[in-house]
Symmetry: C2
C-alpha cells in the first residue's frame, strides 16, 4: 500500500451486509483518512452474478473483506488472500467455527491480520474485548444471547401470547429473520458463535460439532405462560465455561429470574457477559445483527487493520460546546398548607411553559409539600420558573429540583 493511491479494499459478496458496507465506506472515508493517514476506497467487488474474478479483486486490494458467507468458496478466497499477504476482515461465523484453526494458523504464519468482529453479536465488541481488553485475564465463563432472531421471537411470544409460527412470521416481516430461519431456530447459528467465543476466551480449539445445542422449536406458548407465574422469562442462552479445567460449550433455551442481567435483553438485541475472578464481570449489549450494524463492525476491523490502533487523532472537526439543553425535572416544593397553593404554583409554571406530567401532594401543616415531574424543556426556562417559585410567599423552603431522564431508547 502507498499513500498516493490510498488504501484499497476488495469486497467479496454484496448481500445485506456487503451492500451496507459499500454505502458506509465513502461516508466515513475522510474521517478514516484523518485517523490512519490513508484514504480507503473500494477497489473491486466480487459478486455471484456480477462477473469479474477473485484474482482481479485480490490483485488490486490491500485488504480483503469477505462477506460471501458459507464455507466454499469463502475459505479458498480467505486463504489465498492471506497467502498473498493481505489482511482479511470477515463476518463468516460458519467458516470460523469449522475451519478457524486452519485460518488463524495461516494468518500467524503469513503475519497478516484476520479480523472477525462482525461474526458474533454484530457491532457489540465482544471479539475485540476478548482478544484485547481481556487478553491478560483468566476467564471462567462467557455467556449470553447471541442470536437476535430467536430473542425477538421469544420476546414476541411472551409479550403477545403468539405461537412460534406467528412470532416467526412477524420477525420475517420486520427483517429480523431470513426466509430460511432453520439455523436460527435450531440453535446452530448460536452454536457457531459460541464455538468462536470459546476459542478466544479459553485458548481451546472448538469446532461447531463439539458444541451441544438445542433450539427453540419445541417451545410452547403455555410454557411461557406458566413460567411467568413462576417469575421466569425465556431466552436462548449460549454458554462457554471452565468446569474443573474442562471446557463446556452449549446452547439451549433457559429460563431466567427477573434480576438476571440478561433478563432485560429484549427484541433483536444480543448481550454477552464475560466473567473472570479478577474483574468479576463485564456485560456488553446492542443490536445483534442488521446490515448497517454488522457493516459498522466490519469497518471498525478495517480501520484497525490499517493501523496499529490507539492513536487519538488530532481534533480536525471539533464541535462548539453547548450550554443550554433540554431536560425533564423532578421538583420538590415545601409549601404552606393553605387553599390555592397548587393553583398559584401551576400558574407560575404555565407562565414559563413548564408542563406538569405528574404530581404528588404529601403531608399536612409544617410537613406539607408538593412533589412533581415536569415534561422536558430548556434548562434556562426551568431555572427562570424556579426563581419565580422561590420568591413566592407560600414557599417554606427553597425549591429542590433533580433532572429526570426520559426513556429515549429502542
Amino acid at each position: 500500500m502507498n499513500s498516493e493511491r490510498g488504501f484499497r479494499i476488495g469486497l467479496l459478496g454484496r448481500g445485506t451486509v456487503g451492500a451496507a458496507f459499500e454505502a458506509l465506506l465513502p461516508q466515513h472515508a475522510a474521517r478514516i483518512e484523518s485517523i490512519t493517514g490513508l484514504r480507503p476506497s473500494l477497489s473491486g467487488v466480487l459478486t455471484r452474478s456480477g462477473g469479474g474474478s477473485f484474482e482481479q479483486v485480490l490483485e488490486r486490494a490491500d485488504l480483503i473483506v469477505e462477506l460471501i458467507g458459507g464455507i466454499e468458496p469463502a475459505r479458498d478466497y480467505v486463504l489465498r488472500a492471506m497467502r498473498a499477504g493481505r489482511h482479511v476482515v470477515t463476518a463468516n461465523k460458519q467458516l470460523l467455527s469449522r475451519h478457524g484453526e486452519e485460518l488463524w494458523g495461516v494468518a500467524r504464519t503469513e503475519g497478516v491480520q484476520l479480523r472477525f468482529e462482525g461474526a458474533v453479536a454484530g457491532v457489540v465488541p465482544v471479539i475485540r474485548v476478548l482478544q484485547e481488553s481481556l487478553a491478560g485475564a483468566r476467564i471462567d465463563r462467557v455467556h449470553g444471547i447471541v442470536n437476535g432472531t430467536t430473542n425477538f421471537i421469544l420476546t414476541e411470544m411472551a409479550r403477545t401470547g403468539a405461537s412460534l409460527a406467528e412470532a416467526l412470521a412477524e420477525a420475517q416481516r420486520l427483517g429480523y429473520a431470513e426466509a430460511d430461519p432453520s439455523e436460527d431456530l435450531d440453535g446452530r447459528d448460536a452454536a457457531a458463535k459460541m464455538a468462536i467465543l470459546a476459542r478466544l476466551a479459553f485458548d481451546t480449539p472448538v469446532h461447531i460439532d463439539q458444541v451441544s445445542y438445542e433450539g427453540i422449536e419445541q417451545i410452547q406458548p403455555d410454557d411461557l405462560e406458566y413460567a411467568r407465574e413462576l417469575g421466569l422469562g425465556l431466552k436462548l442462552i449460549g454458554t462457554a465455561e471452565r468446569i474443573d479445567e474442562r471446557l463446556s460449550v452449549r446452547v439451549h433455551p433457559a429460563f431466567l429470574y427477573p434480576g438476571h442481567p440478561l433478563a432485560s435483553i429484549n427484541g433483536p438485541f444480543n448481550a454477552v457477559t464475560v466473567q473472570s475472578p479478577t474483574i468479576t464481570e463485564i456485560t456488553m449489549s446492542g443490536p445483534g445483527a442488521g446490515g448497517p450494524q454488522t457493516a459498522t463492525a466490519v469497518l471498525g476491523d478495517v480501520i484497525s487493520a490499517m493501523i496499529p490502533p490507539a492513536s487519538t487523532p488530532a481534533a480536525e472537526h471539533a464541535l462548539e460546546i453547548a450550554q443550554d439543553v433540554v431536560s425533564a425535572f423532578y421538583l420538590h416544593l415545601e409549601v404552606a398548607d393553605e387553599p390555592g397553593v397548587l393553583a398559584q404554583l401551576a400558574q407560575v409554571l404555565a407562565l414559563q411553559d413548564v408542563s406538569v406530567k405528574s404530581v404528588l401532594q404529601k403531608g399536612l401543616g409544617d410537613q406539607a409539600r408538593l412533589v412533581m415531574v415536569v415534561h422536558p424543556l430548556l434548562e434556562s426556562r426551568f431555572q427562570a420558573a424556579m426563581e419565580l417559585i422561590a420568591g413566592l410567599d407560600v414557599m417554606r423552603a427553597p425549591p429542590r429540583a433533580i433532572r429526570v431522564l426520559e426513556e429515549e431508547f429502542g
Copy 2:
C-alpha cells in the same frame, strides 16, 4: 526492545492499582509471551518513598505505566517517556481531562502509543470501543454511570433509606470510597471522565472546565422516597451529546424510569451507552473501579501496545471439552387428574436426587398438569429422572423440560 531480554515495563506509582498490576503481571507473563512473542517483566518501580529515580526507571523500560495520579509530576514523566520513544499506559483521568491535547499531540508526533482504558470505567472497555470498534461510526450520544462510589451510595440510600453520610460511611468501610471522597460526591471525577469520552466520541477537545457538573451532596432521603412513588430511581449520569452540531457535556443526578437501560445498574458498577444512528446503541457495564479490575484494564493496554493486535494465538494450553454439566430445570408434565399423582412423581424425582424448588398445579381432567422448577443437578441425572417419569402410567404426554439459569452474579 529485543526478545532476549523480553519486554521491560517501568511502573510509576505503587498505590492500589499499581500494587494490583505488580501482582497481576507475573501471573500472566507466560500467556502474554504466547500472544506477543515477548515475555513482559517489571524492570523498575518508582514510588514516592522508595528511592530510585525516574531517569533510571525510564532508561531500563520499553514501556512506562503511569499510576501516580494527579497532574505533576505525572505530566512531566509521561511527556518525557513519550519523547524518549516509549509507549505509555496510564489510568490518570485528571491528567487527560486537563492536558489531553498536549499529551495526544506528543504521542502522534513521536509515533508512540498513549493508552488509557483504565482512566474511565475501569475494565469496562469504553475507550477501546470508541477508539477502535466505532472509529467508523458517527456518534450522537455517549452517556452513563461513570462513578462507582456515588452509584453505590445512591443504591444504598434507595435500598435502606440511609442518609448520604451513612451510605458514604458504608462505602468507605467496603473500600468503594476513598478517605477524601469530595471529587466523587461533587461530580468532578465523573466530569473528568466525560471530558475524555467526549473527546474520543466527537473529535472535539474538551477540558474538564468545559463540563458542567453537579454532584449528589444535595440529595435527601425523602427525594428518593417520593421519587419511588413516582416510579423513579436516581443515578449520577454523565452525558456527552451532539445537539444541532454543538456538543453538550455534563454530569448531574437524574431520575430514571424503570425501563431505562441504566436503571438496573446498581452498587459500585459503571455502565456506558453509545448511541449512533447506524448502530442504534451499544451498552457496556461492569465494575467501575477497584485495584485488580483497573489493573486488568492497564494490562490489556500493555499487551495491545506490545503488538499490533488481532492475532489469534496458537492454542497451546487447550482444555478438554466437557459434556455433562449442572443445571436447574423447569418441568412441564401433563398428568392424569387423579389422587396421588404428585406423590408418585415426587417419589421418582427423589429417587434420582431431583429436588423440587417450586410447583404449580394447573387445570382439571384432560387439562391437568404440573409445572415445577427443580434445583440444579447434573444434567445426566435429570435425564434419567425424565426417562423414568415418561414411563409412568399417569403421564398423558411426554414430559417437557427447559433449563433455568440461576442468578450467579454479584
